[in-house]
């Protein structure tokens, strides 16, 4: 990173154009702010009470001048209006041959489904250089799909479908935020857009929607893919309880009760997370009932068990 940059990374075709618009808007704004501030300072010093400056010819108004300083900024701003408007229509006109991805927002997770059936949660893998179109809806309240690095945002509504498209220009991992307030876990409804090179993307597709992660157990891969570990951080710094040393331990609940973290407890906590809340944590985890099958549940269970001894 060289120097201070007030804008996030530029990672889409739209980002470059929006930034150009921003810098022009910024330049115009700075010009007017300096103009007004400069005039106030100048008049304030020159015509301060008791100064000897010549005040003859003071006028109470000048319609021609007032028309001028209303009209000139307005005409300038109309060109900005036109420019910003055309870009906005680009925002709303996806090119042909997009990769389509289905997105469902729900309190408080992003569910992503690729056309080949691969599913992800709070993560979306896309290739660089190809236009991607998102077809989005919400299961409950209004959410908003926002990727700052792409300079795009679109509300996601219950009962109807909205669309959004982008073309990534740089491989990398970028923030996905929910930008429309949606309740308690709003600020936890975040994820990653993973932009991959064509080759990596092909590999990812061939591996069945998993990144090339040698040596990982199926459960660990799944935990990464579902985004479990972004909250259940193994170092204990996440918004959810750590899995490290969890299995078989005694867990104190919000109610004051103590339970043993056995298979039944873990299964329940995945499928119906609000049934038992661990003391000191918030009931913000979405339920996974119907989202994962029994095999995946077993894989996750095995992974959580394997972490019991690691600490």
């Amino acid at each position: 990173m060289t120097g201070f940059n007030p804008l996030p990374p530029q990672a889409s075709t739209m980002a470059v154009q929006v930034d150009a618009l921003f810098y022009v808007l910024l330049g115009l704004s700075v010009f007017f702010i300096l103009l007004i501030a400069g005039l106030i300072l100048y008049f304030g010093l020159r015509y301060r009470e008791g100064s000897k400056a010549d005040r003859s010819g003071k006028r109470d108004g000048n319609l021609r001048l007032e028309f001028f300083w209303a009209a000139v900024p307005f005409v300038i701003s109309l060109s900005v209006f036109y420019w910003a408007g055309s870009l906005f229509f680009t925002d709303h006109s996806p090119p042909p041959n997009t990769i389509d991805v289905y997105v469902v927002g729900k309190q408080w997770m992003w569910k992503v489904e690729h056309t080949n059936g691969y599913r992800e949660i709070n993560e979306m893998h896309v290739p660089v250089g190809r236009p991607v179109r998102l077809i989005m809806t919400s299961q409950d309240v209004i959410h908003s799909f926002y990727v700052p690095a792409f300079r795009i945002k679109q509300d996601v509504l219950p009962g109807r479908t909205t669309e959004l498209w982008f073309q990534p220009t740089k491989p990398g991992t970028y923030h996905l935020f929910c930008a429309e307030y949606c309740g308690m876990g709003h600020s936890a409804m975040i994820g990653d857009i993973v932009v991959m090179t064509q080759v990596d993307y092909e590999t990812w597709l061939n591996l069945g929607g998993a990144e090339a992660q040698a040596g990982m157990s199926p459960g660990e891969q799944l935990a990464n893919q579902l985004g479990c570990l972004s909250c259940h951080k193994l170092d204990g710094s996440g918004v959810g309880p750590s899995w490290s040393g969890l299995f078989g331990s005694q867990v104190t609940l919000e109610s004051g009760q103590t339970v043993t973290a056995d298979e039944a407890y873990i299964k329940e906590s995945i499928l119906d997370p609000n049934a038992k809340i661990v003391a000191g944590f918030q009931p913000v985890m979405p339920d996974f009932a119907g989202q994962i099958n029994d095999t995946q549940l077993t894989d996750l269970m095995d992974y959580i068990k394997s972490l019991a001894q690691s600490q």
Partner: protein
Amino acid sequence: METTLSESKPNYLNISTTIRSWLLTTDHKRIGILYLVSVIFFFAIAGTAAAMMRLELLTPRGDLVQPETYNKLFTMHGVIMVWFFMIPAIPAVLGNFFIPMMIGARDVAFPKLNLASWYVFIVGAMFTMGAVVTGGIDTGWTFYVPYSTLYSNTSVVIATAGVFIVGFSSIFTGINFIVTIHKMRAPGMTWFRLPLFVWSNYANSLIMVLATPILAITVLLIGLDHAFGIGFFDPSTGGDPILYQHLFWFYSHPAVYIMILPAMGVISELISAFSRSRVFGYKVVAFSSLAIAALGFMVWGHHMFVSGQSPYASTVFSFLSFVVAVPSAIKVFNWTATLNKGHISFKTPMLYALGFIGLFTVGGLTGVMLASLAFDVHVTDTYFVVAHFHYIMVGSTVMAFLGGMHYWFPKITGKMYPERWGQFSAIIIFVGFNLTFFPQFILGLEGMPRRYYAYPPEFQVLNVASTAGASILAIGYILPLLYLVWSVFKGAPAPGNPWNSPSLEWQSTSPPPKDNFDEPPVVTHEAYDYAHMAQAQGALDG
């Protein structure tokens, strides 16, 4: 000058001192004071909520309060600041006190309705505070559906009932001002001799009377949806959540002008008084207030560019938002031109007025940026928007309120405030405000969404800067509260016209008698006729 000491003369303050005489008063000046005490109380509560939010945001992780508490804090901050401070602050306090005096009237047209408006305000406030006591409300001040109607388990009905009720107090005040300004001007007080504060409050009253009923209908629909599940906004029963946003912003965008127009009126008075100049282009400034009132009704859709609204509708709303910037820009240029060849003194009210112009210019220009469609897509619902509207609502309206409070303090209380303390606090507030909110523009550009209880660590530096600024701003707000209250009791007695202003309210004693003027005034000159003032002065001295 005939009136230097007022202690001996009966005035509106000492004519009766019982609590009953205050609670049953129909004197517009006393009602203004009742409103003053109320809005300062609500400002303190809502400001405390903001302070707790800023403390929570010092660290990326949530640690000080629980997420639902944080959500209730920003909701309470917004609801109370908007409806119980920003909207009534200038019209119901300064407008109530000074519009009748500025036009040479003894009172407003409907004094009992005026008192009723304060009681309605208090009942509305009790409902909203009741919502806080019964567990709070976590929907955000915008009450967006279907979250507020179907998903929030908090006190939505009680809080929206409070907003519904307080709307009537706005309507009562608006009706009163419109009729008063039309029918009660003193002989000789033509429309174009009115101070611009009266013009801007007139324009503002039109908005209050026309827009507030929409708010009442909207929150009523939410209450019905939430309590009885009727489903106006529920897609599963054929309702439409976007319809709610249209209704809400159809009121709430004009409401932004309810907050800013009276402030603009204050600034016109202050700039004129402390540059001893007629406001440059008086008629243009007066009509620009009416233009803002009219155009303000046609731009609500600019809050909804990413909502799913048709892009064609968004384009029209974007264009109209560029248009509505014109009358505001005219005002800024005309205030600046007023300074040219004036006699400028930097008393406390003037510092607030100049601060207003600076902050309003930043708020207005970032507003134009937000009206630019493709840029808005990136920054809407981020801290850029939070910074923008705080520059308008706090940077501008609160600066104008404080400037006006200092300017008219001698008239209201009959006492002077300490000038040095005033100037010092004005500078502290200006600096503290910028340190608090400027970093939030950058946070928004970098993509930090608003209403986030926890955030990615790269946003921490700017959040710490903003919180540090907020602590300076808090000191800036506490200082005037202390020295102004001190001045009420210990301040030097104020002369009738300490600023030597030609405007009518200053031609009375300080504090004014119950009926405002000892003799009904006859107006022979304009509000800003400093030449006439100097002549009259010369005649007196000579």
